[in-house]
């Protein structure tokens, strides 16, 4: 089967891949580019473990073809921490015990990363609504909500300092 060359930006780096049209973005990320942070939990776009940031939107990479990523900007959990250390959402999940087995965590982090840009100062209800595309079996979500609130405060104070 003929393959197609697809180039996009992954975590700030230009990547060039050769894929069958049917290849899913999550598989390209995990198996070609060896970025295994994003996970596969359900394959039907229910669980959100494969959530990545795609041209500034949260998307489920199990339901996106790699060929659709031509020229796109893709951010995964591997690209979240900067030179100055962990991103506030990462720090927040650790501080508030927002993870246990860690499998849903990259998707949760990528969703909160985008959500807190969409809504920097959310209410608990807004957090629960806007994070509802990500399933977790371990935490019961209560500490994840706290983590998002922690990150929200941190992001705003640091913005304040800047």
């Amino acid at each position: 089967m003929k393959k197609i060359a697809v180039s996009f930006k992954l975590n700030g780096q230009q990547v060039d891949t050769l894929v069958e049209p049917r290849e899913l973005l999550i598989h390209t990320l995990r198996e070609q580019l060896m970025q295994t942070g994003s996970h596969i939990g359900c394959e039907t776009s229910h669980c959100g473990a494969c959530t990545v940031d795609f041209n500034g939107d949260s998307v489920k990479s199990c339901t996106l073809l790699t060929v659709q990523a031509e020229g796109a900007e893709v951010l995964t959990v591997e690209g979240l921490a900067g030179d100055d250390g962990l991103h506030p959402v990462q720090e927040a999940f650790m501080e508030e015990h927002g993870l246990q087995c860690g499998f849903c965590t990259p998707g949760m982090l990528m969703r909160s990363y985008r959500f807190l840009q969409e809504n920097p100062n959310p209410s608990e209800e807004e957090i629960r609504m806007e994070m509802s595309g990500n399933l977790c079996r371990c935490t019961g979500y209560q500490n994840i909500v706290k983590a998002v609130q922690y990150a929200s405060n941190k992001l705003q104070t640091t913005k304040g300092d800047a």
């Binding site: 089967m1 073809l65 659709q68 595309g133």
Partner: protein, 287 residues
């Protein structure tokens, strides 16, 4: 959960789409992909060609054009939700879009895909019918306008012809002080409606001067409850009338049993949703 092989096409103009549709027998249009791709993954579906229309700008956008709202077919749910124009003038679309799927899926899912599916569980068909929307369908030979009320023919069966695509949705702007509600009952976030009802009404003083009542997922298509509408128009709507309207709604719905509930429950819920939707719309309307 791996799809079969297919050829991928990403046209950048409408004409390219039409050309590809004509050249490739059994080609499928890929919009948001959140129904088609999972279906292809369990291999219930194996189109030889996928035509990805995400790259076509003329299918996107929300604008006001001489008293009407125009919405491009490839406008995503989140674009609808974040539209100030819709929030201000057609809030029921925003209310409904927020009840569809989940945040990530709403970034991919489009109003057009939701409509042309003709899935009785999709939410936009009822909303479009409640808003008296018109669909602009395009094919190589030109365009035609079809009213939402006559577009949905059966389950997954619509007016959309072969090699024809939905280009745009056009709808009249409801009166400034109209009342509206999309009341949806679902098992959990992201689920389709067990039953849902869209209501758009206007009052003249206390008297109902116009009303549309349309139900989701309780029949082969979205169902317009005309008898209930007739019952309420020209009257001061009270609880007794709302009860009767809910009865009319239950009488004409024809749901299929599934894990969401049996026929009796879904019928009952159609009445409940209709009742609540009318009450809410009424409370939001100002005569």
């Amino acid at each position: 959960m791996i799809t079969e092989h297919f050829d991928y096409h990403s046209p950048s103009t409408l004409n390219e789409i039409f050309k590809l549709m004509e050249e490739n027998d059994g080609a499928k249009i890929l919009a948001g992909g959140h129904s088609l791709l999972p279906m292809m993954k369990i291999r219930f579906s194996d189109p030889a060609h996928l035509i990805d229309i995400n790259g076509i700008d003329e299918l996107k956008g929300i604008t006001e054009v001489d008293g009407k709202i125009h919405i491009g077919a490839m406008t995503t749910e989140n674009e609808l939700i974040n539209s100030d124009l819709l929030t201000q003038k057609v809030p029921i679309i925003v209310e409904a879009a927020k009840l569809i799927a989940d945040p990530q899926v709403r970034n991919r899912g489009t109003i057009g895909g939701d409509i042309v599916h003709g899935d009785p569980g999709n939410d936009h068909p009822s909303i479009m019918m409640a808003l008296d929307a018109t669909f602009i369908l395009a094919d190589p030979n030109g365009e035609r306008a079809v009213h939402a009320n006559s577009f949905f023919l059966g389950t997954y069966w619509t007016e959309l012809g072969e090699n024809e695509i939905l280009k745009e949705v056009q709808l009249p702007i409801p009166s400034e002080n109209h009342g509206y509600s999309y009341t949806k009952f679902k098992r959990k976030t992201g689920d389709f409606a067990t039953a849902a009802t869209a209501v758009v009404l206007s009052l003249n003083g206390d008297v109902c001067s116009s009303i549309n009542i349309v139900m989701t997922n309780v029949g082969p298509t979205a169902i317009k409850v005309e008898e209930a509408e007739a019952l309420l128009i020209g009257k001061v709507i009270d609880d007794e009338l709302i009860n009767q309207a809910a009865q009319k709604a239950m009488e004409i719905c024809n749901p299929i049993e599934d894990l969401r509930g049996n026929v009796a429950y879904k019928t009952h819920m159609a009445g409940e949703m209709t009742r609540k939707a009318i009450q809410t719309a009424l409370s939001r309307a100002t005569g």
